[in-house]
Amino acid sequence: MAASRPNRLFRNLSAKIAAIPMILTALVVFVGGTVWTVAYSFTSSKMLPKWKFVGLDQYERLWETRRWMVSIENLMIYGICMLIFSFVIGFILAALMDQKIRFESTFRTIILYPYALSFIVTGLVWQWVLNPEFGVQHILRSLGWESFNFDPLYNADIAIFGVLIAGLWQGTGLIMVLMLAGLRGIDQEIWKATRVDGIPAWKTYIFIVIPMMRPVFITTLVLVAAAIVKVYDLIVAQTGGGPGIATEMPAKYVYDYMFGGQNLGQGFAASTMMLLAVLIVVVPWAYMEFGSKKRG
């Protein structure tokens, strides 16, 4: 900073005042709320929070509960598939769009529009499209493909992929747009240079362009990962966790036990586990991003 003033505390006073909402949010809600929840996860709170310490009881019960295990498994499957597919598809689409094509904005508009819709809307639409009695399966069978079987909403083994299809439909557009912006940020000289050297395009993408786009990838990862952890509405609208418990997710377990089951302690314990899982992924990233001092 160019200007220097005598008193450190009052330096940038307006900036500090302006940042009060942020500071309060960060400390009271994010830190305070999290600490509170973690602390009460060690209690036997039922409908109302009560400070009755029971140690790790809630966690023991949690990890013995089959529904929780299924939820974790589902989140892993959904999360990993979502990341891989949305990044691969998003990037390929972005690369195609970057070929100086006609109607680029039309294509982009079409691919991005589902992102504007809520998960409730997404879930309900796909519930309808995948409905075996009316939707895709019915149509393909009536077209003569009698043995065609695709009923993810009724078949527990593939139900989670029914949700994945809806999730990808809603979210891939955003990734494509972010990737496309990243590609547009690449210096045209690089393309010229690789062309002169005769390096094939796919090699240029993988070995030159993608490493250059690291910041874009990271930001995108941040956005997508945050969305995946919070997945709740989609499940509620599309499958309600069913069939059986085949598409249950941790976020829904938390809500169901915290409010529906009137067992706050169990809900807090489950949400603490979600938090822990998130931290394991996020801390290394944060360390990389913010650990090293650099001026943006």
């Binding site: 942020m22 994010f30 830190v31 529009y113 589902p114 809500y255």
Partner: protein
């Protein structure tokens, strides 16, 4: 395989091309197929909402209606029942407006000032708070649901619009602040320095220099927030009461309060109605949306 690679090796960039090269067929072919996949659910929604129930039971969800009827739309908007309230989605629509407009304004105002303070006025500890804030974007909402119930209760805001607006501002803060911080950091620093030398203070620089230069990012933030808040379900369900329920919650209620048979056409009309506002905003401002998102994300 050899063919594919050889076509890819070809020159790219602003060179004039023939229209029907293999390359183009592949690119457009892929894009058209993908576009069809993306459009299909919208098509199905619209078609289903224009059919009568008998036709839905008989027919094919992809086929256009033989007889177009707007009755499902009327029903979804003004007649569908949740319990005794048979005023359809219209009430939820106005609730959503009353929730979204102030929430968007408040959250953007706060986040833009935050982003500006973080980008240009880096005071001690700012990075720490910012890091916590970004972590906040990852903390599953579930962890903070209950503490916020308590917080709102203590402030006497539970169940009120103000309370919900506060919740939206809090949870919108991480991403928006990140967006604004990145954007303001990308503006030429000389501008800011020059203004400082001229003796302009925090707010004057913000209003006179930063604001006018950052219209696009404000539009982006607005679009993000309008769609985000309009589409919210969880907070609407937890922090409001039935007469303040936003449209998404009402949609879910209407679809779930089945009386007799499921009326898929009304459900789809209701679903479309709920999606109309964000879709409208998106189609009108599509380009800015895209350009802005890029500006926010790329300069990470």
């Amino acid at each position: 395989m050899a063919d594919v690679t050889s076509t890819l090796v070809g020159p790219r960039g602003p060179k004039p091309r023939k229209i029907l090269t293999r390359n183009n067929i592949m690119i457009y072919g892929t894009l058209i197929i993908v576009s069809l996949y993306y459009l299909l659910p919208l098509w199905v929604m619209v078609m289903t909402s224009l059919k009568g129930m008998p036709e839905i039971r008989m027919g094919n969800i992809f086929a256009p209606p033989l007889e177009i009827t707007f009755e499902p739309w009327v029903k979804a908007w003004s007649e569908a029942c949740t319990g005794l309230n048979c005023d359809g989605l219209s009430r939820g629509f106005w609730n959503s407006v009353r929730i979204t407009v102030p929430s968007v304004i408040v959250s953007i105002a706060i986040a833009s000032v935050n982003g500006y303070a973080l980008a240009n006025w880096r005071f001690r500890g700012a990075d720490t708070f910012f890091t916590i804030l970004i972590f906040g974007a990852f903390i599953p909402y579930q962890v903070m649901l209950y503490p916020i119930v308590i917080l709102l209760r203590e402030m006497g805001l539970y169940g009120s619009l103000t309370g919900l607006i506060m919740v939206h501002s809090i949870f919108g803060m991480p991403i928006l602040t990140l967006l604004f911080r990145n954007y303001f950091s990308s503006l030429p620093e000389e501008l800011f320095k020059a203004a400082r030398v001229d003796g302009a203070g925090f707010w004057r620089i913000y209003f006179q220099i930063m604001l006018p230069m950052s219209l696009p990012i404000f539009v982006v933030a607005m679009i993000l927030q309008v769609t985000g808040i309009w589409n919210d379900f969880l907070f609407g369900v937890i922090y409001t009461k039935p007469d303040l329920y936003p449209m998404t919650v009402q949609l879910n209620n209407i679809v779930n309060s089945v009386q007799g048979v499921k009326e898929y056409n009304v459900n789809m009309a209701a679903t479309l109605l709920t999606g109309l506002v964000p879709l409208f905003i998106y189609f009108v401002s599509g380009k800015l949306f895209v350009r802005g998102i890029a500006a926010g994300a790329v300069k990470g």
